[in-house]
């Protein structure tokens, strides 16, 4: 189990599109991925789950991964959140 705390810096928080970007990225990893906010744990591979956390700007999030390539997954996803959900491609 690898986990890291990140804070959401993007002004609008995590709405539909950022959630989709996050989930798409999470789906690329074979391990289980969770997002924890305020004690509630959501499945990082499910859009509804991520949206349901109601992640506002400035929220503290814990990204957890368990299984194959967990380290890499946490690194990539933490980076994504910290970069306000902009992929390298644009």
């Amino acid at each position: 189990m690898t986990e890291r705390e990140v804070s959401v810096t993007s002004d609008v928080g995590i709405h539909a599109r950022p959630a989709m970007t996050f989930v798409k990225e999470a789906m690329k990893f074979p391990c289980e991925i969770f997002l924890v906010k305020g004690g509630i744990q959501a499945n990082g591979k499910s859009i509804m789950s991520v949206l349901g956390l109601a992640i506002t700007s400035g929220s503290k999030l814990i990204i957890k991964a368990d299984g194959e390539r967990e380290q890499e997954a946490v690194n990539v996803l933490a980076m994504l959140v910290e970069n306000d959900f902009k992929d390298e491609n644009g």
């Binding site: 509630i40 499945n43 591979k45 859009i47 949206l51 109601a54």
Partner: protein, 324 residues
């Protein structure tokens, strides 16, 4: 496992199903205090001057008796009593039967930031409503990744790995006239230590994500008859990809259970394979559970029938042999 915190300001306005009909009369600054326990205290003895065992950390309920007693006191005696009463860190005072506290009480309450409220309810009725609301908020809860539907009135929690088809299965069940409670995030509370109640997250309520379609609002697409807000969880169905090496339950005589918040719930594992109609299996499981609740246990009945038949055959053969 977590519990929600409940604050005094939560009691004002509508709390869930019941309305406490509370109005604030003093001590506005204390409204943000947290209510730590569901117990209440009737401060009759305390007002009479007996301060031992004063449960000041609970909500103080002033019923007709307390109010009538206060009215008999001369002002200087009131001052003495309130001085001592409010020297404790009193959580909150509530007057029932629409009886308002007098100016002296309100002055003390304001000064000590003790929220003081008046309700129109009778004392006993109010206490039962209040205890219910606080216990509800304090009931332990967890969030489960799954889908909660109500099939033939049985609350079925469908769990399983991402992408195994929980949402699709729920969609088919909704299409067949069953109800969706929550998809993906299911909040489960243990009520009265007796049963589990599931509901959805407030913000994504009744929305589903279907691969290939995206997000749909079930309430808008299928109408109000296809959703409900909360439901008792009575059956857990786990969907998993068919593993050829795994033995699946073929008889259903041994009942399996799944533990949520220390309560055991009937549990089935449904192997998923192309061509297997999972919604029908879930419908049947729900019906079967209803039958069991009414005392009819299909697998055991059949077993008993077979055993009876075998016994009668054996008797017939023995009889024949002895006749010969």
């Amino acid at each position: 496992m977590q519990r929600d915190a409940i604050y005094i300001h939560d009691l004002l306005g509508k709390t869930g199903k019941s309305d406490l009909q509370l109005h604030l009369v003093a001590g506005k600054e204390g409204l943000d205090k947290e209510i730590p326990v569901g117990d209440i205290n009737r401060p009759g003895l305390t007002l009479a001057g007996f301060f031992d065992f004063f449960a000041y950390e609970r909500i103080q309920i002033f019923g007709l008796g307390e109010t009538a007693f206060l009215e008999t006191l001369p002002d200087e005696r009131k001052g003495e009593i309130f001085e001592k009463f409010f020297s404790y860190d009193v959580l909150c005072c509530i007057f029932t039967h629409s009886k308002h506290p007098d100016d002296i009480f309100r002055t003390y309450a304001d000064r000590n930031k003790v929220p003081t409220l008046v309700t129109d309810h009778r004392t006993t009725k109010f206490i039962s409503l209040l205890t219910h609301i606080i216990e509800d908020a304090h009931s332990p809860k967890i969030t489960v990744h799954g889908t909660l539907v109500s099939a033939f009135g049985i609350g079925v929690l469908i769990i399983g790995k991402s992408g195994v088809g929980k949402s699709e299965c729920a969609l088919e069940l909704i299409e067949r006239g069953h109800l969706l409670i929550a998809d993906d995030i299911v909040e489960i509370r243990r009520i009265d230590e007796r049963y589990l109640q599931g509901s959805g997250s407030e913000i994504i309520k009744h929305h589903m994500e279907i691969r290939g379609l995206g997000i749909i609002n079930v309430r808008d697409v299928f109408g109000i008859r296809s959703v409900r807000n909360r439901k008792r969880v009575e059956l857990v169905a786990e969907l998993e990809e068919w593993k050829s090496e795994k033995e699946y339950d073929r008889l259903g005589i041994d009942e399996q259970t799944y533990t949520i918040l220390d309560l055991e719930i009937p549990f089935i594992t449904i192997p998923v394979r192309p061509g297997r109609n999972i919604p029908v299996i879930i419908e049947t499981a729900a019906l079967n559970l209803r039958l069991k609740k009414m005392g009819v246990f299909s697998a055991k009945e059949l077993d008993r029938k077979i055993q009876d038949w075998l016994k009668s055959k054996k008797n017939e053969i023995e009889k024949k042999e002895s006749d010969d």
